[in-house]
Symmetry: D2
């Protein structure tokens, strides 16, 4: 499997190490970087009217731009995991398990009903 999170994290650690950029990669700075990249991603959709995924998919340039910005977000997330020795895949799995319980059928239905008023 060549899409292992830990392998990609390791590759990114080497990229940073090779450039001696570890001294800039403090957790606070990486958190800023993640927010900034997230907002470059968000900007791709600014002033749109919440188009469906199918509509967005028809625009190859947009999907490429989104893919690119999304990668930036995820790469800095890998950087944060590297700096704090966080097992990111494990953290994701734990959060997913938590969400699976937290949003049980009843809760999920309630949330959906609230949100449907705004659709």
């Amino acid at each position: 499997m060549d899409d292992s999170i830990s392998v990609l994290c390791q590759e990114y650690a080497e990229f940073v190490e090779k450039r001696d950029w570890g001294r800039f990669h403090t957790p606070q700075n990486l958190a800023m970087a993640i927010s900034i990249e997230s907002n470059e991603l968000l900007e791709e959709f600014l002033w749109f009217n919440n188009p469906a995924s199918e509509e967005v998919q028809k625009d190859d340039d947009l999907v490429d731009a989104v893919s690119d910005e999304l990668a930036d977000v995820v790469i800095y997330a890998f950087g944060m995991a590297n700096q704090l020795d966080i097992d990111l895949a494990q953290a994701v799995k734990e959060k997913m398990a938590e969400n699976e319980e937290r949003f049980d059928e009843e809760t999920a239905t309630e949330i959906s009903a609230d949100l449907d008023e705004w659709q």
Copy 2:
């Protein structure tokens, strides 16, 4: 290997599907969610003075909170990839290859020199 991005994306797709939340998971909404979660992550460091990773690591509660918020960011990134049929691991690898070239030794050294004035 149990930390495959595509496997985790698939698990998240099932979580969303089971709750019929796909109708809320438009790309624009997911981009908003990623920004919001990124800022919950950022808030963990607000008013700090850029502590080194080693300092942050000593605070177990903080690392747990960061791990949790980081997972939220990454999970919504998986959601975006799912909605737009983006191969996220591939996007990350492409961006890393691009960065490898873009930040060659000379450029990286220049950037470091500029940033060192602010350290």
Copy 3:
């Protein structure tokens, strides 16, 4: 006129001074705070489907929450202006004058045409 930006900035400077919080109010920290508060504002609209202003206005609780989060954003913007001796009203006027020129009739019409494809 009791809605003068400089008067409000001065009041906020006194609030910060009285608590001796100036040492936390570095420009970088305030920029983080502005982003974080902006995202609390954004969260008020998460998973909505871009409702018209008139729809949002009907929900008093939502307008109150938005008003509250918007104030947080603006207060930290005042904090940044205070820290860097920026005349914020002047900065706003200059930017508005710049935008007035930059988005002339032709440019504005082009932008609108592009955006209308996503409405």
Copy 4:
């Protein structure tokens, strides 16, 4: 007084009206715009090491850039106030009064003590 918030809001309302951009200025879109501009502001400080205000002030180009991005944030905040008929100066004053009470001497001292551990 020529730095009245309501006067500046009114000027911005005319700018938007003249370009017929009201249809894009939904509250959700403006919240996105505020977050995006906040992060362009944040980007001005990315990878810095939390320099003091006095240090930042020495860099005229940086202060100009910050001033410019800060204006963008505030202008979109005016846009949000316009769309939802929020009296922004009043909202700011109410929040400041609330903060004045909420962060009484004891609370403020406690917060400072917690934060001082991270300085």
